[in-house]
Amino acid sequence: MRIKGRVWKYGDNVNTDVIFPGKYTYSIFDEGEMAKHALEDLDPSFSKDVKAGDIIVAGKNFGCGSSREQAAICLKAAGVSAVVAKSFARIFFRNAINAGLWAITNDKVQDMVEKWDTVEIDLEKGEIIVCDRRLRFQPYPEQIKKIIEAGGLIPYIKSSTKRRRQ
């Protein structure tokens, strides 16, 4: 599977409060509504200009702070196909997988791209293609790929329990 998209570039320590402000965490439940507030306190232009398939490229510790799952969900709902970062905060990393959002760790991409560049990711080979250069990342194990491809943990458990019953 390959994904290709435009780049939104951000720095280090992008925390879950700026991705999805705490004031909405107990009042917004609709994913489409969540998307409208994605990255609101970091980049107000994001939710207006984001297009389906866009890729976020960031520095280290992406998604640090609160465990709020909406941080991953709002990006996915906004159309983001993957987040490529130098490193991820651990709860965000789990939440991304469980929301069906590709979270890919690579420490070089952020230094090589600018906003609106195009990046292509080969999820099978574990390659990110940036301006004709191929950068490696550790491909996900099959189990994790299945969760993401099912659309997240909930659809995955539903489909696997159904299979077991059959």
Binding site: D17, V18, G22, Y26, R90, N98, I157
Partner: protein, 415 residues
């Protein structure tokens, strides 16, 4: 080779040799959720499972938006109460009991060797009691409700050896900020951290909880302090088996810290690792002081604040809000006269709960305003307004600054 604390806890639980890096499937002893239970119920329903696998496993504590300030919050709470009855859940704590991490600890759900997971990043707090505990997502809680179990990767460990006595008016919060400044907001990413050494051994459980709580702010998965007689007395049990991590275990890093050299610290906007000694930012005007949270809302935190505020008034230019971490803490403040001291000095005493920490209600700041907070996060917009800013500090620094109206080193109050 010896084992780290997490390696020992997981080895015992799974009755085989476990080393860092392994992926294990465990049945956590308890799984915590709070106001976010309303959203978890939706995920659980989506799974199509009728009954929670183990109704003894969930611990649900309402604390984030209590009492409800909007009809949406009220409806969330109602939905949770109805679900608790429907599923015959054993461990539910309604509004007014306090912050989930404080209540869960006081109620004895987290004990040495236990495994507690929770839909809140500060679930690391129970490491202070010798438990393995960490934050997970909402969907994962729904999955545990349905199946009773979850996979985890056993983390590598960074060991801190902390020695020396604190200077007067230097508190565990200052130590936590100092460490985070030293290793960075991602300095312990995916790792377990162990807090060891005489300074930690001499600490109260409340102080250790501050350290374990703040360990997620350096990216850690778990913040461990070994169990001892203080742990036993806190939990009201006679005997305790400490975990005793081996000094010759495969630690990724061992970091020595001399606590006697640490001054009162602050974290400046907008990241927790943006720290400096209070002296470097002294004199900055503040509009609000916030006492409380799962980091610094315990009796000893208000005790030191009251010691500084006794017989004095908070500055007229500052609003000072205090939220005890639990009903039990609140009652102790009343019994010891601390409550009276704080009220007399001009502090606004609020109900047990998270208060303004997460910006969902109460104590929101105006544009351009500055809050000095004893909480754990100072991210942009954290307290509800991205046009305001937050400095993090200890309760002693917060109390001294409440009196002067500007950021103040509490050590000056002694001079």
């Amino acid at each position: 080779m010896g084992k780290t604390a997490v390696e020992k806890i997981f080895s015992k639980r799974l009755s085989r040799d476990i080393a860092a890096g392994e992926i294990v499937v465990v049945k956590p002893d308890f799984v915590l959720s709070h106001d976010n239970t309303a959203a978890i119920i939706d995920h659980f329903r989506e799974l199509g499972v009728k009954q929670i696998e183990n109704p003894e496993q969930p611990v649900i504590i309402l604390d984030h938006t209590v009492p409800a300030s909007t009809s949406k919050y009220a409806n969330n709470h109602k939905k949770i109460r109805e679900f608790v009855v429907e599923q015959k859940l054993s461990h539910f704590f309604d509004i007014g009991e306090g912050i989930c991490h404080q209540v869960l600890a006081e109620q004895g759900f987290a004990v040495p060797w236990s495994i507690v997971l929770g839909a809140d990043s500060h679930t690391t707090t129970y490491g202070a009691l010798g438990a393995f505990s960490t934050g997970i997502g909402r969907k994962e809680v729904a999955a545990i409700w349905a199946t009773g179990e979850l996979w985890l990767r056993v983390p590598e460990t960074i060991r801190f050896v902390i020695t020396g006595r604190f200077q007067p008016y230097v508190l565990p919060k200052d130590l936590a900020l100092y460490i985070i400044g030293k290793i960075g907001a991602d300095g312990a990413l995916y790792k377990s951290v162990e807090f060891t050494g005489e300074t930690v051994e001499n600490m109260s459980i409340a102080s250790r909880m501050t350290l374990s709580n703040m360990s997620v702010e350096m990216g850690a998965k778990n913040g461990f302090c070994d169990a001892d007689e203080k742990t036993a007395s806190f939990l009201g049990i006679d005997r305790i088996t400490p975990i005793l991590p081996d000094p010759d275990a495969d630690y990724e890093q061992v970091i020595d810290i001399d606590a006697s050299t640490i001054p009162p610290m602050v974290a400046k906007p907008h990241t927790v690792d943006n720290v400096s000694p209070v002296d470097d930012v002294e004199g900055i005007k503040i509009d609000q002081v916030f006492f409380g949270t799962c980091t610094n809302g315990r009796v000893e935190d208000f005790e030191i604040a009251a010691r500084i505020l006794r017989g004095k008034k908070v500055a007229r230019s500052v609003r000072v809000l205090a939220f005890p971490a639990s009903r039990k803490v609140l009652l102790e403040l009343v019994k010891r006269g601390i409550y009276e001291t704080l009220v007399e000095s001009g502090v606004v005493m609020m109900n047990p709960g998270c208060g303004p920490c997460l910006g969902a209600h109460e104590g929101v700041l105006a544009d351009g305003e500055l809050c000095l907070s004893t909480a754990n996060r100072n991210f942009k917009g954290r307290m509800g307004n991205p046009e305001s800013s937050i400095y993090l500090a200890s309760p002693a620094t917060a109390a001294a600054s409440a009196i002067t109206g500007v950021i103040t080193n509490p050590q000056e109050m002694r001079r």
